[in-house]
Amino acid sequence: MLWVIIRREITANILSFRFLMGLLIYFSLIVTNLFVLTRGYEDRLQSYQTAVRENEDRISQVTRYSEFGLTHMLKCDRNPKLLSIFNEGVDKRKGNTVTVAHGYVPAVAEQHGSDNPYLNIFSSIDFTVICQVVMSLLALLFAYDAISREKEAGTLRLALSCAVPRPTLLLGKYIAGMVSISLPLIASFVAGLLVIQFSPYVSFSGSDWGRILLIFLLSMLYVSLFFLIGLFLSTRTDRPSITLMFSMCVWVLFVLIVPNLTVLLVEHASPIQSEEPYREQARDQWKQYEAEVKDYLEKRGVEGPLDRANFGGVGARSGVNDYDSGETVQVGGFENEEGVPFAQECYGFKENLRAQYADRIWQIRKEYLDRNPNRQSLLALNISRISPAAVYYNAAAIFAKTDLGSFWRFMEQTRQYRREWVDYLRDEKIFSSRRWFTTEFEDPIDLSRIPRFNGQGEDIGNSLQRASLDIMILAVLNMLFFMGAFISFLRYDVV
């Protein structure tokens, strides 16, 4: 019996005007959008590759180690995420290159600056947003008159006069509706994937396919929620026009207004405090560092580390910002060779201490970040969960590795990389090596042993775990509305 109802409903749906319109619009949108976003991804990938190459070039020019401290700091580049084609998240917006040095713990990322920043005034949409806006609307349009239209037309009475239990009828309508909606979704998904595959830069790995599948299933869960909302509203009213009105209100509220409102509220209810006190603290730390170094040198009766080796002075470039400091030293030759080991000892002390201070200053900065921008972002994320549209977007971003959490993970990896780098410098006793300051060796430094940044992506299990809350919210809402529709329909007056 269920099958008969499903077949009848599907036929009715597919032959309807709305199906044709929905399919057409959805299909053309997805295909053009994926095409455009793939090109955007190619551009970003190229600029990433250029950045990595330039970084290697720069490192290969280094002749003395102190250059890594200021003039030739190491860089970590963030690769654009392949699945940003489906969900851009923060992938495009956040910086993608991070500078690392023993005197600087990375906390913010810069932009490669490959595109026109003024284009940021145009909002852009991706696959997930189209799904979020158009598919939810389509789902409501398929569901709003499922019950109330049949009542208005009088066919509901006829249908129920046969030996069809009400649950079966409702279930039949739900399954048929979902099948009819998923047809445009699947068709455009497949067409979109074909478009992407034409790009020479794109090749999906096994886990990418898994993630794409997860995004697809998530989209179905989201669409199903809106279908159930429509079905529920349909069982609460007698006339389809009223159901439609209510459905539209729900849609405008949850898809258009709430996601915008949350950001606005968070920005104004919990504004970001001034960073100045933290900067002040950091500057104090650097002053303390300078004092400690001065003290150390004075005890040894010199003003600078190289005083005993070279009376004529030394070429040095140093820079201190609020959160970082560094120095690059350059000495061509020595007037007193015996003073060189002393200089090495001094630099060993000085640069080791610098790395320690940088760690302390990072703690200060971390406190600011945790209490201000990061807390605000987390708050916005949590409040936005009022709207299923935002829940869906967040979960899809986690699967596409473009969410804020993935970005933070990248930043954490760059800090991990800095620790490796500092450990390497310490273990190899590079701070106190002759090559720290001298240019007497013309040949470049042996680069093969320098640790390289390797940003490992999150594995799929981890992503699933992080998205589990959002998935659960969608699933629970689905269940709630199904039960709501079920109970309402059991008590629905069919006459």
């Binding site: 976003l37 595109d115 972002s377």
Partner: protein, 489 residues
């Protein structure tokens, strides 16, 4: 007769659920917009702006102790004033730079001794106009969102409501059979259509009017903003533009409604049109357009800049030409040395200036191209019109940059004319030893300011306003033509 039909429509609409919904929604959104604006948005931005400008004034004062220093270091930071009408259109201000910088960067020193000559001189580069991307946005981790300003409330929500008000105006009456009854009286079809339009238009103006009134009352009561006469006039024009914009969707609704004999069909079609033109087109074209016109990247620009500067350096330093005849810091300096160095430094500053200006112009052209494409959407046209009138958005930013460029010339002229007044000066522009070393009266330095008059803003919005009116007329004619020919049964 039109009035009779309109009255009937109004009475009918007023008792409908959709009217109550529109009224509540618009009122809530408008109040929210005003409260957010006066409680935190505007005070914060004004505080930031005045702090920034005070700093700029202080630094200008310091520089005014010496004309030559002022000439080299330039006017400093030029900040974009915050428009008091920001609550009407935020205009993506958070994503646009808040200032341009008339400042130098980089200092150099050279000392050399050769058998032929010895030379030493240290200098800093001459100022040029730079366009850094400092925005007022504090946290870039927050998701991108649309501000709840008038352009959102009216452009998006009201246009949607306009569709809900008219989708069944004709098709609904055809469905119930009342249209044929209506037409059996001696009323012309045009009258019926106009009556229906007037009915819907006047009903929908009620929530709009109440919402706008509440909004302006809160903004006005806060005493934070005191709008001048010109600004009130601009608000008035924006209101009229909003009414025209809404009428576009009402005529669209009537046009589509006339095509269908069942109201659900007309609603579906209207919804799809609305989604494409109001939601999708403004949001996809940014990505699409950037693919059409390529603009060089920042690293490419710095590469070109370096090449040009190297070329200038090579030309001047060939055979140590620049160092051989003496240093500008010699006392007293030789006039030909000053001229040579002034040429050298000016060429550097001009090269950088020209390159940055060209690059910015290209970036702006790309944005304007994108805006042209998005004008396919009436919502985008409306947004640009309102932004121009409110003095926010990209068009305003471009005007700000143009002002800053004009001011650059004004500043240079001022330095030259001040310098002419000092007889001890060598009158060589621009090397610091070649200009007057006397202090400048701070008040006589031209200050950067930007005037937004009704005429300027209206002129900026004229194209978009014309487009809105033409679109409304077009849809009006289309609706009339279609309605004339339909079968009323």
């Amino acid at each position: 007769m039109i009035w009779h039909i309109a009255k009937r429509e109004i009475l009918d609409n007023l008792t409908r659920f959709r009217f109550a919904l529109t009224l509540i929604l618009i009122m809530v959104l408008m109040v929210l917009n005003a409260v957010v604006f006066v409680s935190s948005q505007y005070p914060r931005r004004i505080a930031e702006y005045s702090k920034d400008t005070n700093q700029a004034v202080e630094s200008l004062k310091t520089k005014s102790s010496n004309l030559s220093e002022l000439a080299v270091k330039g006017p400093g930071y030029l900040h974009k004033p915050v428009s008091p009408l920001t609550f009407i259109a935020m205009g993506e201000d958070a994503n646009l730079p808040k200032r341009v910088e008339g400042a130098p960067s980089g200092g150099y020193g050279i000392g050399m001794t050769t058998p032929d000559f010895s030379f030493s001189y240290s200098w800093s580069a001459n100022w040029w106009l730079q366009y850094p991307q400092h925005t007022s946005r504090k946290n870039d981790s927050l998701p991108n969102f649309t501000e709840l300003d008038w352009t959102f409330i009216i452009g998006l929500v009201m246009s949607f409501m306009a569709i809900l008000f008219t989708y069944d105006a004709i098709s609904g009456e055809r469905e119930t059979g009342t249209l044929s009854l209506l037409m059996s009286n001696s009323v012309s079809r045009a009258t019926v259509l106009l009556g229906k339009f007037m009915g819907a238009f006047l009903t929908i103006l009620i929530p709009l009017f109440i919402g706008v009134l509440l909004n302006l009352m809160i903004v006005n009561a806060s005493r934070l903003v005191s709008l001048s006469g010109g600004e009130w006039a601009r608000v008035g024009i924006i209101f009229v533009a909003s009414a025209v914009y809404i009428s576009i969707f009402l005529w669209l609704g009537l046009f589509i409604s006339s095509q269908f004999s069942n109201s659900s069909g007309s609603l579906l079609t209207l919804l799809l049109i609305w989604i494409v033109f109001v939601v999708l087109i403004p949001n996809t074209m940014g990505v699409l357009a950037s693919g059409f016109q390529q603009v060089s990247s920042r690293s490419e620009i710095s590469r070109i800049q370096k090449a040009r500067e190297d070329e200038i350096d090579n030309r001047y330093k060939e055979g140590d030409k620049l160092y051989r005849i003496g240093s500008p810091s010699d006392t007293p300096p030789k006039i030909e040395v000053l001229r040579l160095w002034a040429d050298y430094l000016n060429e550097h500053a001009d090269a950088k200036s020209r390159l940055l200006d060209e690059h910015l112009n290209k970036q702006f052209a790309q944005v304007e191209f994108t805006q042209q494409i998005t004008r396919l959407s009436p919502a985008a046209i409306y947004k640009y019109a309102v932004e121009s009138l409110a003095g926010t958005g990209f068009a305003r930013h471009k005007r700000f940059v143009q002002h800053a460029r004009r001011y650059r010339q004004q500043f240079v002229d001022f330095i030259k004319s001040e310098d002419r007044g000092d007889n001890d000066s060598y009158h060589v522009y621009l090397v610091k030893e070649g200009l007057s070393q006397k202090p400048v009266a701070f008040n006589s330095i031209p200050k950067f300011s930007e005037q937004l008059t009704v005429r300027i803003t209206f002129g900026g919005a004229l194209l978009d306003l014309t487009l809105l009116v033409s679109l409304a007329l077009l849809l009006f004619m289309a609706a009339v033509l279609v309605f004339m020919r339909i079968d009323v049964k």
